[in-house]
Symmetry: C2
Subunit: 211 residues, 2 copies
């Protein structure tokens, strides 16, 4: 498939809605996570260069740079998620006639399941960082657009949680119990932190909307 | 601006992140709401035509049609949100030299604030309907993709809540207290229903992931 980011938005949504398995939930979560980061970035960009927000300009500029990095990472993770899915599907096409083939297939399946867990965890990491940026901007961002920091926080949290459903799906197939326990702990921490940061961002945004 | 849905995904995200005021939080919420609906639609499409899910095919087909309608509505609401924003900005360019001009300007401002409240409420309605579809599909959808119903539910809830922040911003400017009270009631109901339906969808998806 050609680069999904080069394709028209309508076409991407239509393909997501179709029975075609990619883009699936992980890829779509990375895309919507990027939209969440974009909303925080917009508020940061609307804060830079304004006399009224001169004092916080260095922090706003830092958040712009940080959010640009997060969006670029999420873009890469969309492709990584689709590649992980293709690799998973390829395992089922491997021969399983001899014992050696069966062993090789089982090994490939483990590797594919691990990759299909690592990618959504990385999407979660990027969304959590977008939430950290949203919290920072909720306090200092241009008040005329401050609600958009809240939009970004809601989207980043939802995208994180959506991506992590892929972790839930893949963990039962993985035999390496140390990897499984580690992934579960990362998953729990990401969800707890995301809920805390979203609540913090929304509380600050709510106060600033009320003036 | 040319139709945002015709533009490359990367370009849309970049414009959302820029200091350009459109697309803002309402439009982005409608786009991500459409992505949420697309995930439920994908699971519905993966359920139709499968021998294993023959019994639920009529319901799955109904949800496909419903979700296609929701996605089309959300696409229209993206444009409506950008138009409402432009109309709002246009008010500030109206003359305010004479009393008549001031009165006309105040009236135009009321109309613009009302439109900028109606559009996000309509985005919320569409996202709520996507959540209803997700709940329906959580129970009957193809189990190999069932986590994607959860992705859709998280995204629809977040998009609804994000859109409604625009209601919070615009209500204080509206003088018509009946409209304001009505909008507040719709807002409260949408949020409460969305939280309930998302929790329901995620609970069913969680059970089906565990098998």
């Amino acid at each position: 498939m050609s680069d999904i980011f080069e394709r028209p938005l309508r076409n991407v949504i239509e393909q997501a809605a179709s029975a075609s398995p990619t883009p699936g939930g992980g890829s779509v979560s990375a895309i919507t996570g990027a939209f969440g980061a974009s909303m925080a970035a917009m508020v940061a960009n609307l804060t830079v260069g304004k006399e009224k927000y001169k004092d916080v300009e260095p922090q706003a500029l830092e958040q712009v740079k940080r959010l640009e990095g997060i969006m670029a990472r999420l873009e890469g993770l969309v492709q990584a998620d689709m590649d992980a899915f293709e690799a998973f599907m390829a395992v089922y096409k491997l021969p399983k006639d001899t014992d050696e083939q069966k062993a090789a297939r089982a090994k490939a399946r483990q590797a594919a399941a691990i990759e299909a867990t690592e990618v959504p965890l990385a999407i979660g990491d990027a969304c959590l960082e977008a939430l950290e940026a949203a919290v920072g901007l909720a306090a200092i961002g241009n008040s005329t657009a401050i609600s958009d920091v809240g939009v970004g926080a809601y989207l980043a949290e939802a995208s994180l949680k959506g991506a992590l459903l892929s972790v839930d799906i893949n963990l039962p197939a993985i035999n390496d119990s140390e990897f499984v326990n580690n992934a579960k702990a990362r998953r729990e921490r990401l969800i707890a932190e995301a809920e805390r940061l979203r609540a913090e961002a929304i509380a600050v945004v709510g106060k600033r909307i009320q003036g």
